[in-house]
Amino acid sequence: MFQKQILIHYGELSTKGKNRKMFQNKMADQIRHKTKDIEKVKVLPHHDFMHVKWNHASYETIIDVLKDVPGIARFEPTYRVEKTMEAIYAKGIELFEAQTFGDNASFKVVAKRSDRTFELDSMMIQSEVGHVIGERFPELHVEMKKANYKLTVSIQRDAAYLSLISVQGMGGLPYGSSGKGMLMLSGGFDSPIAGYQMIKRGLEIEAVHFSSPPYTSPQALEKAKKLTAVLSRYGTPIKFHNVPFAKIQEEIKEHIHEDFSMTVMRRVMLRIMDQLLVKNKAMAIVNGESLGQVASQTLQSMSVINEVTTTPILRPLIAVDKNEIIAIAEKIGTYDISNEPYEDCCTVFAPKKPKTKPKLHTIQEMEAALNIENLVADAVMNTEVMTIDEFYLKEQLAEFDSLL
């Protein structure tokens, strides 16, 4: 028998018909995965809700985990007590004591009795418990329709279960329930947020980073890895693909006029993405493009760049302003990492005035000077893969622990 439990309410998942079971299982799997180092937690998916049960860890520990699980609309910590009115009163008072009431706060008690042998019926439990709470907290008044606090008392066969507060979840869909995509992850502010938005929408993510050593620094690569670690908190450990891109940059610099180099570079990146997608059985490319933000993100640029692929390119930030992106970055903890001063593209290759309205046929003619097929195949073949989990950041600092 478990001593502690939380009741989870699904978000949109409730409307998913036949796929519901798969969705529930994805969420249950993720919760099991994220709690496996805490203790053995029992996850029980039901039709309309899910139970998480455990014995030892604090409620706060489990709440912190559930807050970052996509697909949860809200959840209620539920407290198990002995099936006597005294125990129910005591727990009810304890739960209210932990709250700070606003002015004119109201409450109600809702009781359910599935154990018919219990001495009082639901109505009587409601009125008795309501009376005790009302006496103890004179600043609260009873309100049936729109109470600020709803104390739920459920009498079951083994025990009584009480819950008072409801915690807002992350919303969205369970991780991986929408399939898998590959995220083009630079070290900037936008791409990790694009990844976060898609994770929230149920997409499993693999991260792809293009690095050009020695033109780009090891710190820039590290930055992308750290961002991946932050994202993995909202999903499961993420596969990180490091694509060696220096050779391609050099070739582009040598053969393509500087004004068009950015467009060609982005087209080569998409070609590489397409091959990585096939290799890793993913179905979409995700990037952090926001309409009009830079030269590569005008409609004309996007249409010329996009021309090399028919794969869906998901751009969750296309209509999101920079300040909104920054706000999310601060909230999820990518801001400070993205803010580190290491660039993932070198000034050696950055064109002074890239075309904002490139012409497709001009670009295609220029690309003829490159052996694109070979360059892409080489890059894909030499791509290094590693798996990064949310503990990656701590591991980086752990080596200093003994010193400090």
Partner: protein, 378 residues
């Protein structure tokens, strides 16, 4: 040897020295270098800074490393004061408590040459700031108020919470606290949120010499203390003394974590020592208001130096009131501010302890006090 001069300097702990050596050998790269070895050093430096910030309840960006406590104290008037002065030309006053360490008081002349008026805040006969008098001095003309947390000569604990209260209506006054003697047992006292600037010194808490800390709230402007390569956010250039900084961050953590054990232990020792001194007709200063680890006492008629040497013959190491002025035969600055007649104050010595002080040390000290006192009491 029975060492009772911990307010002058403490013995670097073995753990801390090991860390120092490890860092010196394994993280020798310059934190400003962009290669990965430099990056590692920089990451370690930032981790140390982060740790110090957490221990003192400041932000990481508010902690600056200097070469000594003296430098941190100099920073206040050499770099912060000019920055404040140019921002607020309508204010021209500086208040300094009358019992500050020479690293503050020796700057007074310079501050006056800069065109500021310096006022000294008096203390009572226990070496505690006279709050009524201080309240009179605090006006809208004041740029900086500089006080201590624990006095270095007599150990008097300063009422920082009450001072914060006095400053409530003067948010524009920058308040500096010299916390250098506060780490051993009075860590909490220097954590008042109203404090704007806090100085610490590594070798007073079992780290090596060579590191000072200035914690400076973001809202307080400062000119650079040292010009050069732009280290310490451009305010204090010099290649960082990483081994000593990391060692200091560790020592500070160990000191804070052991407060709960060290405080009662030293308090008990202090009571025992005071009892022995009183029994032998010594005059004890700041007996009730002193920090657990410092005792200042005088045996009238015997010069302090003579008492120091006589105790040393019994292998007990104490000092005249402060190490910095011990060799200069200066009058005792704090005792003078406490209005102790010079005839008595020249007979004062300082006994200072730390967590390394043991029962054995105390027994030796008390025996020596008895023997030496009886010799001179004849």
């Amino acid at each position: 040897m029975f060492y009772f001069d911990n307010s002058a300097t403490t013995q670097p702990s073995e753990t801390v020295m090991k860390v120092m050596q490890e860092v010196a050998i394994n993280y020798f790269a310059n934190p400003s270098s962009i290669h990965f070895m430099g990056e590692k050093s920089k990451a370690l430096l930032n981790s140390a800074r982060q740790q110090v910030a957490e221990l003192l309840d400041y932000k990481e960006s508010e902690v600056y490393f200097t070469s000594s406590g003296t430098e941190a104290n100099n920073w206040v008037f050499q770099a912060v004061l000019p920055a404040l002065g140019s921002l607020h030309s309508d204010r021209n006053k500086v208040i300094i408590s009358s019992i500050e360490h020479p690293s503050i008081t020796a700057q007074i002349e310079m501050i006056e040459r800069m065109g500021y008026i310096v006022e000294l805040a008096p203390v009572d006969e226990d070496g505690v700031l006279d709050l009524m008098a201080l309240a009179q001095l605090i006006t809208k003309d004041v740029l900086i108020l500089s006080t201590m947390s624990v006095n270095n000569e007599v150990g008097s604990i300063q009422p920082l919470d009450a001072i914060a209260e006095l400053l409530k209506d003067y948010p524009q006054i920058v308040w500096h606290v010299d916390g250098i003697q506060s780490v051993t047992t009075q860590f909490e006292n220097m954590l008042n949120k109203r404090i704007d600037l806090l100085s610490l010194s590594s070798h007073k808490f079992h780290s090596v010499r060579g590191v000072g800390i200035l914690a400076k709230r973001q809202r307080v402007d400062s000119e650079p203390m040292l010009y050069g390569g732009g280290q310490e956010s451009g305010l204090r250039s010099s290649t960082e003394n990483l081994p000593a900084i990391v060692a200091t961050a560790k020592a500070l953590r160990l000191s804070k974590e052991s407060q709960e054990i060290v405080k009662p232990k030293l308090n008990m020792y202090r009571e025992k020592i005071c009892q022995a001194l009183t029994h032998q007709n010594w005059q004890i200063y700041a007996e009730q208001t002193g920090s657990e680890h410092i005792i200042c006492a005088a045996l009238e008629g015997v010069p302090g130096e003579v008492l120091v040497h006589a105790l040393a013959e019994k292998s007990v190491i104490v000092s005249t009131t402060s190490a910095c002025s011990s060799r200069k035969h200066q009058t005792h600055h704090t005792l003078k501010a406490m209005k102790i007649p010079e005839a008595v104050s020249t007979s004062a010595i300082r006994i200072s302890m730390s967590h390394t002080t043991s029962d054995e040390d105390i027994t030796a000290l008390i025996n020596a006090i008895e023997v030496v006192s009886q010799k001179f009491n004849k």
